[in-house]
Protein backbone atom coordinates (compact mmCIF):
# COMPACT_ATOMS: atom_id res chain seq x y z
CA UNK A 1 0.00 0.00 0.00
CA UNK A 2 1.28 3.40 -0.82
CA UNK A 3 1.16 6.11 1.77
CA UNK A 4 -1.58 8.53 1.04
CA UNK A 5 -1.39 11.59 3.24
CA UNK A 6 -4.61 12.86 1.79
CA UNK A 7 -6.78 10.06 3.07
CA UNK A 8 -10.05 10.94 4.67
CA UNK A 9 -10.98 7.50 5.99
CA UNK A 10 -8.59 5.09 7.61
CA UNK A 11 -8.92 2.56 4.79
CA UNK A 12 -10.47 1.83 1.42
CA UNK A 13 -14.08 0.85 2.23
CA UNK A 14 -14.95 -0.39 -1.25
CA UNK A 15 -12.69 -3.38 -0.98
CA UNK A 16 -13.99 -6.75 0.24
CA UNK A 17 -12.71 -10.32 0.35
CA UNK A 18 -13.10 -12.22 -2.97
CA UNK A 19 -13.43 -8.87 -4.78
CA UNK A 20 -9.99 -9.34 -6.15
CA UNK A 21 -8.37 -6.59 -4.16
CA UNK A 22 -5.82 -7.06 -1.42
CA UNK A 23 -6.33 -6.54 2.31
CA UNK A 24 -6.06 -2.79 2.95
CA UNK A 25 -3.76 -3.30 5.93
CA UNK A 26 -3.28 -0.41 8.34
CA UNK A 27 0.13 1.19 8.26
CA UNK A 28 1.92 4.44 8.71
CA UNK A 29 -0.50 6.03 6.28
CA UNK A 30 -3.22 5.44 8.90
CA UNK A 31 -1.53 8.05 11.03
CA UNK A 32 -1.40 10.76 8.39
CA UNK A 33 -4.27 13.13 7.95
CA UNK A 34 -5.28 15.41 5.18
CA UNK A 35 -5.23 18.94 6.59
CA UNK A 36 -8.66 20.32 7.36
CA UNK A 37 -7.26 23.58 6.04
CA UNK A 38 -3.81 24.81 5.14
CA UNK A 39 -1.16 23.06 3.10
CA UNK A 40 0.42 19.76 4.12
CA UNK A 41 3.73 20.64 2.46
CA UNK A 42 4.17 23.89 4.31
CA UNK A 43 4.14 23.98 8.09
CA UNK A 44 0.91 25.95 8.11
CA UNK A 45 -1.97 23.56 8.35
CA UNK A 46 -4.60 22.34 10.73
CA UNK A 47 -5.60 18.69 10.85
CA UNK A 48 -7.71 16.25 12.79
CA UNK A 49 -5.18 15.54 15.58
CA UNK A 50 -4.76 19.26 16.25
CA UNK A 51 -8.51 19.66 16.41
CA UNK A 52 -8.74 16.72 18.81
CA UNK A 53 -5.88 18.08 20.94
CA UNK A 54 -7.50 21.47 21.35
CA UNK A 55 -10.95 19.96 21.81
CA UNK A 56 -9.50 17.64 24.44
CA UNK A 57 -8.02 20.60 26.31
CA UNK A 58 -11.36 22.33 26.25
CA UNK A 59 -13.09 19.19 27.54
CA UNK A 60 -10.62 18.86 30.42
CA UNK A 61 -10.86 22.53 31.34
CA UNK A 62 -14.65 22.40 30.95
CA UNK A 63 -14.94 19.36 33.18
CA UNK A 64 -12.76 20.82 35.92
CA UNK A 65 -14.40 24.20 35.53
CA UNK A 66 -17.81 22.65 36.10
CA UNK A 67 -16.44 20.74 39.08
CA UNK A 68 -14.06 23.22 40.72
CA UNK A 69 -15.10 26.73 39.66
CA UNK A 70 -17.43 27.07 42.60
CA UNK A 71 -16.38 24.24 44.88
CA UNK A 72 -18.33 23.44 48.01
CA UNK A 73 -17.13 22.07 51.31
CA UNK A 74 -19.83 19.44 50.99
CA UNK A 75 -19.25 18.34 47.39
CA UNK A 76 -21.82 17.54 44.73
CA UNK A 77 -21.55 14.50 42.48
CA UNK A 78 -19.39 16.11 39.80
CA UNK A 79 -17.08 17.74 42.31
CA UNK A 80 -16.76 14.42 44.10
CA UNK A 81 -15.71 12.64 40.89
CA UNK A 82 -13.22 15.39 39.99
CA UNK A 83 -11.88 15.41 43.54
CA UNK A 84 -11.35 11.66 43.38
CA UNK A 85 -9.31 12.06 40.19
CA UNK A 86 -7.38 14.98 41.59
CA UNK A 87 -6.75 13.19 44.85
CA UNK A 88 -5.61 10.06 43.02
CA UNK A 89 -2.86 11.96 41.21
CA UNK A 90 -1.97 14.20 44.11
CA UNK A 91 -1.85 11.57 46.83
CA UNK A 92 -1.34 8.40 44.82
CA UNK A 93 1.36 9.69 42.51
CA UNK A 94 2.97 12.94 43.69
CA UNK A 95 2.95 12.41 47.47
CA UNK A 96 3.93 8.78 47.03
CA UNK A 97 7.03 9.54 44.96
CA UNK A 98 8.18 13.06 45.82
CA UNK A 99 6.64 13.42 49.25
CA UNK A 100 4.07 15.86 50.50
CA UNK A 101 6.34 18.76 51.43
CA UNK A 102 8.46 18.90 48.27
CA UNK A 103 5.80 17.53 45.96
CA UNK A 104 3.03 20.05 46.58
CA UNK A 105 4.64 22.52 44.16
CA UNK A 106 4.49 20.05 41.26
CA UNK A 107 0.93 18.85 41.85
CA UNK A 108 -0.69 21.21 39.27
CA UNK A 109 1.85 20.21 36.62
CA UNK A 110 1.48 16.49 37.24
CA UNK A 111 -2.30 16.65 37.51
CA UNK A 112 -2.49 18.58 34.22
CA UNK A 113 -0.15 16.07 32.60
CA UNK A 114 -2.18 13.10 33.75
CA UNK A 115 -5.54 14.34 32.60
CA UNK A 116 -4.11 15.75 29.39
CA UNK A 117 -2.44 12.48 28.44
CA UNK A 118 -5.46 10.46 29.46
CA UNK A 119 -7.84 12.61 27.44
CA UNK A 120 -5.57 12.48 24.38
CA UNK A 121 -5.42 8.69 24.75
CA UNK A 122 -9.16 8.44 25.25
CA UNK A 123 -9.84 9.96 21.84
CA UNK A 124 -8.81 6.55 20.52
CA UNK A 125 -12.14 4.96 21.41
CA UNK A 126 -14.46 7.95 21.34
CA UNK A 127 -16.75 7.43 18.33
CA UNK A 128 -16.15 9.64 15.28
CA UNK A 129 -12.82 10.88 16.68
CA UNK A 130 -11.39 7.37 17.10
CA UNK A 131 -7.77 8.40 16.99
CA UNK A 132 -5.35 8.65 19.90
CA UNK A 133 -3.75 12.06 19.64
CA UNK A 134 -0.72 10.71 21.52
CA UNK A 135 -0.07 8.31 18.62
CA UNK A 136 1.43 11.31 16.85
CA UNK A 137 4.93 11.66 18.33
CA UNK A 138 4.72 15.47 18.52
CA UNK A 139 2.28 15.43 21.42
CA UNK A 140 4.17 13.04 23.71
CA UNK A 141 7.38 14.81 22.63
CA UNK A 142 6.08 18.19 23.81
CA UNK A 143 5.06 16.75 27.16
CA UNK A 144 8.26 14.76 27.63
CA UNK A 145 10.17 17.90 26.59
CA UNK A 146 8.43 19.96 29.26
CA UNK A 147 9.20 17.31 31.85
CA UNK A 148 12.81 17.18 30.64
CA UNK A 149 13.23 20.95 30.89
CA UNK A 150 11.68 20.93 34.36
CA UNK A 151 13.96 18.13 35.45
CA UNK A 152 17.18 19.68 34.08
CA UNK A 153 16.38 23.14 35.48
CA UNK A 154 15.44 21.70 38.84
CA UNK A 155 18.58 19.56 39.05
CA UNK A 156 20.75 22.59 38.26
CA UNK A 157 18.93 24.71 40.79
CA UNK A 158 19.12 22.11 43.52
CA UNK A 159 22.51 20.51 42.93
CA UNK A 160 24.57 23.27 41.36
CA UNK A 161 26.80 22.66 38.36
CA UNK A 162 28.99 19.93 39.87
CA UNK A 163 26.02 18.41 41.61
CA UNK A 164 24.12 18.34 38.33
CA UNK A 165 26.97 16.50 36.68
CA UNK A 166 27.22 14.02 39.54
CA UNK A 167 23.46 13.55 39.57
CA UNK A 168 23.26 12.94 35.84
CA UNK A 169 26.25 10.62 35.66
CA UNK A 170 25.42 8.72 38.83
CA UNK A 171 28.84 9.53 40.29
CA UNK A 172 29.79 7.02 42.97
CA UNK A 173 33.40 6.66 44.11
CA UNK A 174 32.93 3.10 45.33
CA UNK A 175 32.54 1.93 41.73
CA UNK A 176 36.31 2.38 41.24
CA UNK A 177 37.60 1.24 37.86
CA UNK A 178 34.24 0.98 36.11
CA UNK A 179 33.34 4.52 37.13
CA UNK A 180 34.18 6.13 33.75
CA UNK A 181 32.15 3.50 31.91
CA UNK A 182 29.18 3.71 34.30
CA UNK A 183 29.29 7.51 34.18
CA UNK A 184 29.24 7.50 30.39
CA UNK A 185 26.31 5.11 30.29
CA UNK A 186 24.42 7.00 32.95
CA UNK A 187 25.07 10.30 31.22
CA UNK A 188 23.59 9.04 27.96
CA UNK A 189 20.81 7.20 29.67
CA UNK A 190 19.68 10.11 31.78
CA UNK A 191 20.36 13.15 29.66
CA UNK A 192 19.79 11.88 26.12
CA UNK A 193 17.84 8.63 26.10
CA UNK A 194 15.47 9.40 28.94
CA UNK A 195 13.32 12.10 27.29
CA UNK A 196 13.20 9.99 24.16
CA UNK A 197 12.01 6.85 25.97
CA UNK A 198 9.63 8.92 28.04
CA UNK A 199 7.90 10.20 24.92
CA UNK A 200 8.21 7.03 22.82
CA UNK A 201 6.82 4.78 25.56
CA UNK A 202 3.54 6.63 25.41
CA UNK A 203 3.60 7.16 21.68
CA UNK A 204 4.38 3.53 20.83
CA UNK A 205 1.71 2.16 23.13
CA UNK A 206 -0.97 4.32 21.60
CA UNK A 207 0.37 3.80 18.09
CA UNK A 208 0.29 0.03 18.52
CA UNK A 209 -3.11 0.10 20.17
CA UNK A 210 -4.58 2.14 17.37
CA UNK A 211 -3.00 -0.14 14.77
CA UNK A 212 -4.49 -3.20 16.43
CA UNK A 213 -7.92 -1.63 16.61
CA UNK A 214 -7.62 -0.62 12.96
CA UNK A 215 -6.48 -4.08 11.96
CA UNK A 216 -9.49 -5.80 13.48
CA UNK A 217 -11.89 -3.11 12.32
CA UNK A 218 -10.63 -3.24 8.76
CA UNK A 219 -10.66 -7.04 8.84
CA UNK A 220 -14.25 -7.08 10.06
CA UNK A 221 -15.23 -4.91 7.13
CA UNK A 222 -12.99 -6.55 4.56
CA UNK A 223 -14.17 -10.09 5.30
CA UNK A 224 -17.83 -9.13 5.19
CA UNK A 225 -18.40 -11.14 2.01
CA UNK A 226 -19.47 -14.76 1.43
CA UNK A 227 -17.93 -17.28 3.78
CA UNK A 228 -15.79 -14.51 5.21
CA UNK A 229 -18.74 -13.22 7.26
CA UNK A 230 -18.08 -15.83 9.97
CA UNK A 231 -14.48 -14.64 10.29
CA UNK A 232 -15.71 -11.08 10.18
CA UNK A 233 -17.78 -11.80 13.29
CA UNK A 234 -14.72 -13.14 15.12
CA UNK A 235 -12.78 -10.07 14.09
CA UNK A 236 -15.55 -7.81 15.31
CA UNK A 237 -15.53 -9.49 18.71
CA UNK A 238 -11.81 -8.73 18.76
CA UNK A 239 -12.60 -5.09 18.04
CA UNK A 240 -14.76 -5.00 21.15
CA UNK A 241 -12.16 -6.81 23.24
CA UNK A 242 -9.38 -4.53 22.01
CA UNK A 243 -11.51 -1.45 22.68
CA UNK A 244 -11.95 -2.53 26.30
CA UNK A 245 -8.25 -3.34 26.50
CA UNK A 246 -7.34 0.06 25.06
CA UNK A 247 -9.54 1.76 27.63
CA UNK A 248 -7.39 0.11 30.27
CA UNK A 249 -4.09 0.81 28.48
CA UNK A 250 -4.97 4.49 28.02
CA UNK A 251 -5.34 4.99 31.75
CA UNK A 252 -2.26 2.91 32.52
CA UNK A 253 -0.10 4.86 30.07
CA UNK A 254 -1.25 8.18 31.48
CA UNK A 255 -0.43 6.87 34.95
CA UNK A 256 2.99 5.59 33.87
CA UNK A 257 3.78 8.89 32.18
CA UNK A 258 3.14 10.96 35.32
CA UNK A 259 4.73 8.36 37.57
CA UNK A 260 7.96 8.63 35.56
CA UNK A 261 7.67 12.42 35.63
CA UNK A 262 7.46 12.32 39.40
CA UNK A 263 10.34 9.90 39.70
CA UNK A 264 12.51 12.22 37.55
CA UNK A 265 11.59 15.23 39.68
CA UNK A 266 12.26 13.22 42.80
CA UNK A 267 15.69 12.31 41.41
CA UNK A 268 16.46 15.99 40.86
CA UNK A 269 15.49 16.81 44.44
CA UNK A 270 17.38 13.91 46.00
CA UNK A 271 20.58 14.74 47.83
CA UNK A 272 22.47 11.74 46.53
CA UNK A 273 21.77 10.05 43.30
Amino acid sequence: MSADPTQTLAFDTSCHLFDGCGFPAPGLHSFLFKPLFGDADSNLYFNKTMLLALLGSIIIVGFFWAAFAKPKVVPGKLQMIAETGYDFVRRGVVYETIGKKEGEKYVPFVVSLFFFVWMMNLWSIIPVAQFPVTAIISYPAVLAGLVYITWVALTFKRQGFVGFFKNVTGYDKSLGGVLPLSMTIEFFSNLIVRPFTHAVRLFANMFAGHTLLLLFTIASWYMLNGIGIAYSGVSFVMVLVMTAFELFIQAVQAYVFVLLTCSYIQGALAEHH
Partner: protein, 181 residues
Protein backbone atom coordinates in the same frame (compact mmCIF):
# COMPACT_ATOMS: atom_id res chain seq x y z
CA UNK B 1 9.11 14.43 -7.94
CA UNK B 2 12.61 15.58 -7.26
CA UNK B 3 14.75 13.40 -4.95
CA UNK B 4 14.70 16.13 -2.31
CA UNK B 5 10.91 16.30 -2.23
CA UNK B 6 10.76 12.53 -2.11
CA UNK B 7 13.18 12.49 0.81
CA UNK B 8 11.07 15.06 2.60
CA UNK B 9 7.97 12.95 2.03
CA UNK B 10 9.72 9.88 3.39
CA UNK B 11 10.90 11.83 6.38
CA UNK B 12 7.36 12.90 7.10
CA UNK B 13 6.39 9.28 7.10
CA UNK B 14 8.82 8.37 9.86
CA UNK B 15 6.48 8.28 12.85
CA UNK B 16 9.30 9.23 15.22
CA UNK B 17 10.01 12.56 13.53
CA UNK B 18 7.68 15.02 15.22
CA UNK B 19 5.87 17.38 12.83
CA UNK B 20 6.42 20.96 13.99
CA UNK B 21 2.80 22.26 13.76
CA UNK B 22 1.61 19.41 15.94
CA UNK B 23 4.33 20.27 18.46
CA UNK B 24 3.08 23.83 18.63
CA UNK B 25 -0.57 22.86 18.92
CA UNK B 26 0.30 20.20 21.48
CA UNK B 27 2.13 22.79 23.55
CA UNK B 28 -0.76 25.25 23.28
CA UNK B 29 -3.28 22.56 24.21
CA UNK B 30 -1.29 21.54 27.26
CA UNK B 31 -0.65 25.11 28.33
CA UNK B 32 -4.41 25.77 28.19
CA UNK B 33 -5.04 22.85 30.53
CA UNK B 34 -2.12 23.66 32.80
CA UNK B 35 -2.99 27.38 32.94
CA UNK B 36 -6.58 26.84 33.96
CA UNK B 37 -5.80 24.09 36.43
CA UNK B 38 -2.74 25.67 38.03
CA UNK B 39 -3.97 29.26 38.20
CA UNK B 40 -7.61 28.89 39.03
CA UNK B 41 -9.19 25.51 39.44
CA UNK B 42 -6.73 23.62 41.62
CA UNK B 43 -6.15 26.54 44.04
CA UNK B 44 -9.95 26.74 44.24
CA UNK B 45 -10.37 23.14 45.22
CA UNK B 46 -7.33 23.22 47.51
CA UNK B 47 -8.93 26.05 49.45
CA UNK B 48 -12.12 24.06 49.84
CA UNK B 49 -10.26 20.89 50.78
CA UNK B 50 -8.39 22.90 53.41
CA UNK B 51 -11.67 24.34 54.67
CA UNK B 52 -13.12 20.85 54.85
CA UNK B 53 -10.09 19.58 56.72
CA UNK B 54 -10.34 22.51 59.13
CA UNK B 55 -14.05 21.95 59.58
CA UNK B 56 -13.45 18.33 60.50
CA UNK B 57 -10.43 19.03 62.67
CA UNK B 58 -12.12 22.08 64.19
CA UNK B 59 -15.07 19.92 65.17
CA UNK B 60 -12.74 17.42 66.77
CA UNK B 61 -10.84 20.18 68.55
CA UNK B 62 -14.06 21.72 69.82
CA UNK B 63 -15.23 18.37 71.12
CA UNK B 64 -11.89 17.86 72.81
CA UNK B 65 -12.01 21.31 74.38
CA UNK B 66 -15.55 20.67 75.63
CA UNK B 67 -14.46 17.36 77.09
CA UNK B 68 -11.48 18.94 78.82
CA UNK B 69 -13.68 21.65 80.23
CA UNK B 70 -16.24 19.13 81.41
CA UNK B 71 -13.45 17.16 83.04
CA UNK B 72 -12.08 20.21 84.84
CA UNK B 73 -15.56 21.24 85.97
CA UNK B 74 -16.13 17.74 87.29
CA UNK B 75 -12.83 17.85 89.18
CA UNK B 76 -13.71 21.24 90.58
CA UNK B 77 -17.16 20.03 91.57
CA UNK B 78 -15.72 16.93 93.21
CA UNK B 79 -13.19 19.03 95.10
CA UNK B 80 -15.91 21.40 96.27
CA UNK B 81 -18.10 18.51 97.28
CA UNK B 82 -15.39 16.88 99.34
CA UNK B 83 -14.55 20.24 100.90
CA UNK B 84 -18.19 20.74 101.79
CA UNK B 85 -18.31 17.26 103.29
CA UNK B 86 -15.27 18.01 105.41
CA UNK B 87 -16.77 21.30 106.46
CA UNK B 88 -20.03 19.62 107.41
CA UNK B 89 -18.18 16.96 109.38
CA UNK B 90 -16.18 19.63 111.12
CA UNK B 91 -19.31 21.59 111.97
CA UNK B 92 -21.04 18.48 113.25
CA UNK B 93 -18.04 17.68 115.39
CA UNK B 94 -17.96 21.21 116.73
CA UNK B 95 -21.66 21.17 117.47
CA UNK B 96 -21.31 17.88 119.26
CA UNK B 97 -18.50 19.24 121.34
CA UNK B 98 -20.38 22.41 122.08
CA UNK B 99 -23.51 20.43 122.96
CA UNK B 100 -21.56 18.17 125.27
CA UNK B 101 -19.96 21.17 126.97
CA UNK B 102 -23.35 22.82 127.29
CA UNK B 103 -24.92 19.71 128.79
CA UNK B 104 -22.04 19.34 131.22
CA UNK B 105 -22.36 22.97 132.19
CA UNK B 106 -26.09 22.68 132.63
CA UNK B 107 -25.68 19.54 134.63
CA UNK B 108 -23.18 21.26 136.91
CA UNK B 109 -25.54 24.20 137.24
CA UNK B 110 -28.46 21.92 138.08
CA UNK B 111 -26.37 20.10 140.62
CA UNK B 112 -25.37 23.36 142.20
CA UNK B 113 -28.96 24.59 142.29
CA UNK B 114 -30.17 21.29 143.74
CA UNK B 115 -27.55 21.44 146.40
CA UNK B 116 -28.52 25.01 147.19
CA UNK B 117 -32.17 24.07 147.40
CA UNK B 118 -31.41 21.05 149.57
CA UNK B 119 -29.17 23.14 151.81
CA UNK B 120 -31.85 25.81 152.08
CA UNK B 121 -34.43 23.09 152.89
CA UNK B 122 -32.18 21.63 155.55
CA UNK B 123 -31.64 25.05 157.10
CA UNK B 124 -35.39 25.70 156.99
CA UNK B 125 -36.13 22.32 158.53
CA UNK B 126 -33.50 22.91 161.20
CA UNK B 127 -34.96 26.33 162.00
CA UNK B 128 -38.49 24.89 162.04
CA UNK B 129 -37.39 22.03 164.19
CA UNK B 130 -35.69 24.40 166.61
CA UNK B 131 -38.69 26.68 166.86
CA UNK B 132 -40.97 23.62 167.15
CA UNK B 133 -38.79 22.19 169.85
CA UNK B 134 -38.82 25.58 171.56
CA UNK B 135 -42.62 25.77 171.38
CA UNK B 136 -42.97 22.12 172.38
CA UNK B 137 -40.80 22.60 175.38
CA UNK B 138 -42.93 25.49 176.57
CA UNK B 139 -46.11 23.57 175.84
CA UNK B 140 -44.84 20.45 177.56
CA UNK B 141 -43.94 22.56 180.60
CA UNK B 142 -47.42 24.01 180.67
CA UNK B 143 -48.98 20.67 180.13
CA UNK B 144 -46.89 19.08 182.81
CA UNK B 145 -47.79 21.73 185.32
CA UNK B 146 -51.47 21.53 184.23
CA UNK B 147 -51.47 17.80 184.50
CA UNK B 148 -49.73 17.85 187.80
CA UNK B 149 -52.29 20.37 189.10
CA UNK B 150 -55.17 18.23 187.85
CA UNK B 151 -53.65 15.11 189.27
CA UNK B 152 -53.25 16.70 192.57
CA UNK B 153 -56.74 18.27 192.52
CA UNK B 154 -58.58 15.10 191.75
CA UNK B 155 -58.41 11.75 193.45
CA UNK B 156 -57.18 8.80 191.60
CA UNK B 157 -59.85 6.33 192.90
CA UNK B 158 -60.64 4.17 190.03
CA UNK B 159 -59.24 3.13 186.82
CA UNK B 160 -62.09 4.55 184.84
CA UNK B 161 -61.59 7.93 186.19
CA UNK B 162 -57.98 7.70 185.55
CA UNK B 163 -58.38 6.87 181.93
CA UNK B 164 -61.05 9.55 181.48
CA UNK B 165 -58.58 12.12 182.71
CA UNK B 166 -55.98 10.92 180.29
CA UNK B 167 -58.39 10.96 177.41
CA UNK B 168 -59.46 14.44 178.25
CA UNK B 169 -55.85 15.47 178.39
CA UNK B 170 -55.13 14.01 175.04
CA UNK B 171 -58.18 15.65 173.52
CA UNK B 172 -57.07 18.93 174.83
CA UNK B 173 -53.73 18.28 173.40
CA UNK B 174 -55.19 17.63 170.03
CA UNK B 175 -57.36 20.71 170.17
CA UNK B 176 -54.33 22.75 170.99
CA UNK B 177 -52.42 21.29 168.16
CA UNK B 178 -55.32 22.11 165.82
CA UNK B 179 -55.56 25.62 167.14
CA UNK B 180 -51.85 26.08 166.76
CA UNK B 181 -51.99 25.11 163.08
Amino acid sequence: MSPLVQLAAEEAENPLIPPIPELVIGLIAFVIVFGFLAKKLLPNINKVLEQRREAIEGGIEKAEAAQTEAQSVLEQYKAQLSEARHEAARLRQEAQEQGAALIAEMRAEGQRQREEIVAAGHAQIEADRKSAAQALRQDVGHLATDLAGKLVGESLEDHARQSRVIDRFLDELEEKAEAAR
